[in-house]
C-alpha cells in the first residue's frame, strides 16, 4: 500500500520534470516574448516574492502584500460559497416546493456573466472587499449547489424508507443519511469550486478599486507588458491550485473513507 503510494508520487514527479524540461526547450526555441521559458519565470517569481528576509520566511513585501490578501479573499469566498451552495443545494434536493419556487430564479442567476454586473455589484456592495467577496461567492456557488442537489435527490430510496420506518427526525435524516450519501457528489462540486475560487479571485481583483493581490499583479504586469511577471502570477496560481487540490484530496479521503473502501479498487 505504502510502497504503491511512493511509486505513484515518484512517477508523478517524473512526469512533471519531463514536462517542465520540454516546456523550457520549446519556449527557448520559440523565443517569443509572450512565452518566456520557465527558468525565467522562476527567476522572476523568486525575485518578486521569495527573496525576502528569513524572518518572514523569505517572503518579500510584495508577497506579503499581494499573496496573503488574495488567499484571504479566496478562502473567505470559498467558505461562503460552499456553505451557501450546500444549504441551497440540500433545500432544492430535498424539497420539491423549494425547488419549484427557486429553480427559475437560480437558473437565471447562474447564467449571468458577472463581468456584466460589475456596476450593479458596485452600487449594491460598494468598493473593495465586500464586493469582491460577493463576486466570488456568486460565481462559485453553482457547482456546489447543483451537485449537492443532485446528490440529495439521488439518495437510495430504501435508505429514506428506513429513516421513515424508524421515524428518524428531520435533522437526523438530514445529517446522518442524506448528507453522507450526497457527500461524494458534493465533493465533486467543492473540488470544482475550489479552483474556481482561485480563478474568480483573480477576476475580483480586476474590479474597480483593487490595489493589491495576485490577480492585480497579473493584470498590472500585462498592461505594462511585463510578461515574465504575468507568467509568474499564472504559475503561482497553478502551484497554489495544485497544492490546494492535494490538501482537498487529503480531506476528501478522510471524509469519504467509507465510500472509497466500499467501492473497492477502481476499474
Amino acid at each position: 500500500m505504502r510502497t504503491r503510494g511512493m511509486r505513484t508520487t515518484v512517477f508523478r514527479a517524473l512526469v512533471l520534470v519531463v514536462l517542465v524540461i520540454a516546456w523550457e526547450g520549446v519556449t527557448r526555441a520559440a523565443g517569443s516574448a509572450f512565452f518566456p521559458p520557465p527558468s525565467t519565470i522562476l527567476g522572476r517569481m523568486h525575485a518578486m516574492w521569495f527573496s525576502g528576509p528569513v524572518g518572514t520566511l523569505f517572503l518579500t513585501d510584495a508577497a506579503v502584500g499581494n499573496i496573503l490578501p488574495s488567499l484571504g479573499r479566496m478562502f473567505a469566498g470559498f467558505a461562503g460559497g460552499a456553505l451557501a451552495g450546500v444549504a441551497l443545494g440540500l433545500a432544492l434536493g430535498l424539497s420539491a416546493r423549494a425547488y419549484d419556487y427557486l429553480d427559475g430564479v437560480l437558473q437565471f442567476l447562474r447564467a449571468i456573466p458577472p463581468p456584466a454586473l460589475v456596476t450593479v455589484f458596485l452600487v449594491v456592495f460598494g468598493f473593495g472587499l465586500r464586493m469582491q467577496l460577493a463576486f466570488i461567492v456568486f460565481s462559485i456557488v453553482w457547482p456546489v449547489l447543483l451537485n449537492t442537489a443532485d446528490g440529495a435527490r439521488s439518495v437510495e430510496p430504501l435508505h429514506l424508507e428506513t429513516c421513515r420506518a424508524f421515524r428518524l427526525s428531520r435533522a437526523e435524516r438530514l445529517f446522518r443519511v442524506v448528507l453522507p450519501s450526497a457527500l461524494p457528489k458534493m465533493f465533486a462540486g467543492l473540488r470544482l469550486a475550489l479552483s474556481l475560487s482561485l480563478i474568480v479571485m483573480v477576476f475580483s481583483e480586476l474590479l474597480p478599486g483593487t490595489t493589491n493581490g495576485i490577480g492585480f499583479q497579473i493584470t498590472d504586469a500585462y498592461s505594462t507588458f511585463d510578461l515574465p511577471a504575468m507568467w509568474a502570477g499564472i504559475v503561482l496560481l497553478g502551484v497554489l491550485g495544485y497544492l490546494f487540490n492535494e490538501l482537498f484530496l487529503v480531506v476528501e479521503r478522510r471524509v469519504l473513507a467509507w465510500h472509497q473502501a466500499a467501492q473497492g479498487p477502481p476499474g
Binding site: 430504501l158 435508505h159 428506513t162 420506518a165 424508524f166 428518524l168 453522507p180 467509507w258 465510500h259 466500499a262
Partner: protein, 256 residues
Amino acid sequence: MLEIDNLSHVYGGGSPNAHHAIEGLNLSVAEGELLCIVGPSGAGKSTLLRSIAGLISPTGGQIRIEGNVVRQTPDNLAVVFQDYSRSLFPWMSVVDNVALPLRRKNMDKRQRREAAHEALESVGLAGAERKYPFQLSGGMQQRVAIARALAYRPALMLMDEPFGSVDAQTREDLEDLVLKVRGHHKMTIVLITHDIDESVYVGDRVVVLSKAPAHVVGDLKVELPTPRDQISTREHPDFVHLRAEVGRLVRGHAAV
C-alpha cells in the same frame, strides 16, 4: 391492534401497464400476535408490508393501527426489509447502524451503544461491531438488519423474509430469538416467509396469500404447545398436519 380493510394497491395507476398488486385484502392482527404471511413470489407481500408501515399509500381500503388510520409511518414500528443489504447505511459501522434508530428512544449515547451491542450479540455478530456493512457476508448483513429492528423494541415489528440468507443452524437460532424477544417485550410481529415449516413453527397464525392481485386464501391458527422447541415442536403431529395444510394452500393458489 392492526386491522386491514378491503385493501387494494395498484402500481402505476392510470397507465396501460398498471399492476394490481393487492385487491380487496382483509386481515386483522391481535395485540401480541405473531402472524406469518406466506404466498407466491410477486404476490404482493412486500407491498402489503410497505402499506402497513405507511411507506406507500394504498390506492384503496384502509389500514388501522390501534384504531388510527395509517397515513404516515406509525410510531414505534420497526421494519426488516427484504432488500436488507440496501437498507443498511454504508457510511456507518455496524454498531452505529443498529444504534441510529435508538435516538428516537430516550436513551443516552452509552445506553444506545449498549443496546446495540447486546442486539448484535444476540444475532451472533459480537465481533463485527466496528466493521462496515460491505465488509460483512450476506447473511451477516441480514442479521445486522434484524439486530437493528430488535434493539429498537417496537410495538409492531414487520419482517420481510428476515432469515432468507442465513444457514440452517443460524436460522433456527434466530427463530427462537424472535420468539423469545416477542415473549419478553410483548411485540406484535408480522413476518413474511417462504419457508412453510418456519411459518408454522414461529407463527401463532399463518395467513396464505394468493397470486397477484393478492388476497387472503387461507388463515390458519397454529395451536402448538409453547414454548416451542426446534426438535419436539417440529415432530408434533399438529405441526406436520399444519405444514401440509399450508403447503397445499400455497401450491393450490400458486398454480392458478
